[in-house]
């Protein structure tokens, strides 16, 4: 079969954990971004946001689909998205932050895209071919996302007094949520040793460079690194995730097994 898999000998539980993390990041951010549908400040932006959300949800299906396969309990991507409780979600806290204004949504997208781009670029060389193949596909879409979010951060940062103020506020507000992208735990270490994923910390220098370049060009001031919020990757979330899940999961909770 053309889709034959090369599965490195790693603990399936660790692999599931990683796949849930990357899949949940895409799912929750995709859901957040989709909340803009019909509400964006301009039609073109409304369409761009909806398309970005769609890409992320598409990637979620690939990641969570593989997670279910690795777990081997017969759970599909839909089961994982719609039937897990909040403490089972593994997304970073930044993606569950409420959207705020358009500037804040874009700033979050940019901070995330820059990291997502570097992560996928590295995952294209994963020793697990199934992961490498999904990364290859997603990388193209995310490169496209980063082009847009970076461009808009620069234009709004270096825009009017009001757009500049809003972008700086968004940056200051979101900065304490960026640290979680680069912390490693035992799962990361084990998978990184097997060449399945990169060490989270190894992406930091590249991320700093992309972010610093865009902020400088957008006349925005990079905040000082201080206390960093974390917990999402091990299932400890803010109250915001519960509200996201209430909406996201309502149909399957209210009408179990409902199909399209």
């Amino acid at each position: 079969m053309a889709t034959a898999t090369l599965e490195p000998a790693v603990d399936p539980a660790a692999l599931f954990e990683f796949l849930a993390r990357i899949g949940d990041n895409a799912l929750i951010l995709g859901h957040r971004v989709s909340e803009w549908c019909g509400h964006a400040p301009a039609l073109e932006e409304d369409i761009a946001l909806a398309n970005t959300a769609l890409d992320l949800i598409g990637q979620t299906q690939l990641w969570l689909g593989l997670a279910g396969e690795v777990e081997g309990k017969g759970r599909s991507a839909d089961d994982l998205a719609y039937l897990r409780d909040g403490f089972e979600f593994r997304n970073i806290l930044m993606v569950e932050r409420p959207n705020g204004d358009f500037g804040k949504t874009l700033m979050r997208q940019f901070l995330y895209d820059a990291w997502h781009y570097l992560l996928l670029k590295s995952l294209k060389g994963s020793t697990d071919r199934r992961i490498a193949e999904i990364a290859e596909k997603a990388f193209k879409e995310v490169s496209y996302h980063l082009d847009r979010s970076r461009d808009l951060v620069i234009r709004l940062g270096d825009g009017t007094a009001e757009s500049h103020r809003r972008m700086q506020e968004a940056l200051d507000d979101l900065w304490p949520y960026t640290g979680e992208m680069f912390v490693a735990d035992a799962v990361d270490t084990r998978l990184a040793e097997a060449g399945v994923i990169p060490e989270p910390q190894s992406l930091k220098a590249g991320w700093d460079e992309i972010v610093a370049d865009a902020l400088a060009e957008g006349t925005l001031k990079k905040p000082a690194d201080g206390y960093m919020h974390k917990g999402g990757r091990r299932g400890v979330h803010t109250e915001h995730l519960g509200f996201v899940l209430t909406e996201l999961q309502f149909l399957q909770r209210g009408y179990p097994g409902a199909v399209w």
Binding site: A2, A50, L54, L62, K137, K140, E141, S143, D147, D213
Partner: protein
Amino acid sequence: MTTALHPSVDEVWHWLSEVPDPEIPVISLTDLGIIRDVGWQDDTLVVTVTPTYSGCPATTVINLDIERALAEKGLGKVRLQRQLSPAWTTDWISVEGREKLRAYGIAPPIDGTAADGVLLKRIDRLSGRSNLAIACPRCGSANTEKISQFGSTPCKASYRCTDCLEPFDYFKCI
């Protein structure tokens, strides 16, 4: 049951070249470049399909359309197989497909311009290196500008002709 129908692979490719893309019906699935392989495994026809954009809602419809088209030709045992790698690129859209897109009012992709993650530096962007000369599908003028990197479906970006003022779709290059 009658004896198993076993048409040649070439014939199946020809049938698939008549299945329209559900979003852009002027081009076929083979024009789009998403059919990666057709082959027989015993008495089962295996069609290997690669997705275009991972969230494209047309993917499910495409699979149904393939099954239906082959069933109409009398093929009952068909298996669709998804192949992610190599990842689909707009460079795979056929020459004929591009002409059909242009005639339909969608500017076809320019090869090798897919977002590859090479981040353009400020100087390159200011010098316009990222601005492609995309010809207006209505009047042919190259004086066009980007309205948005995204468009009405996951495969399109929005452009506008500054000569004839026509707003048009450009195929989103990945």
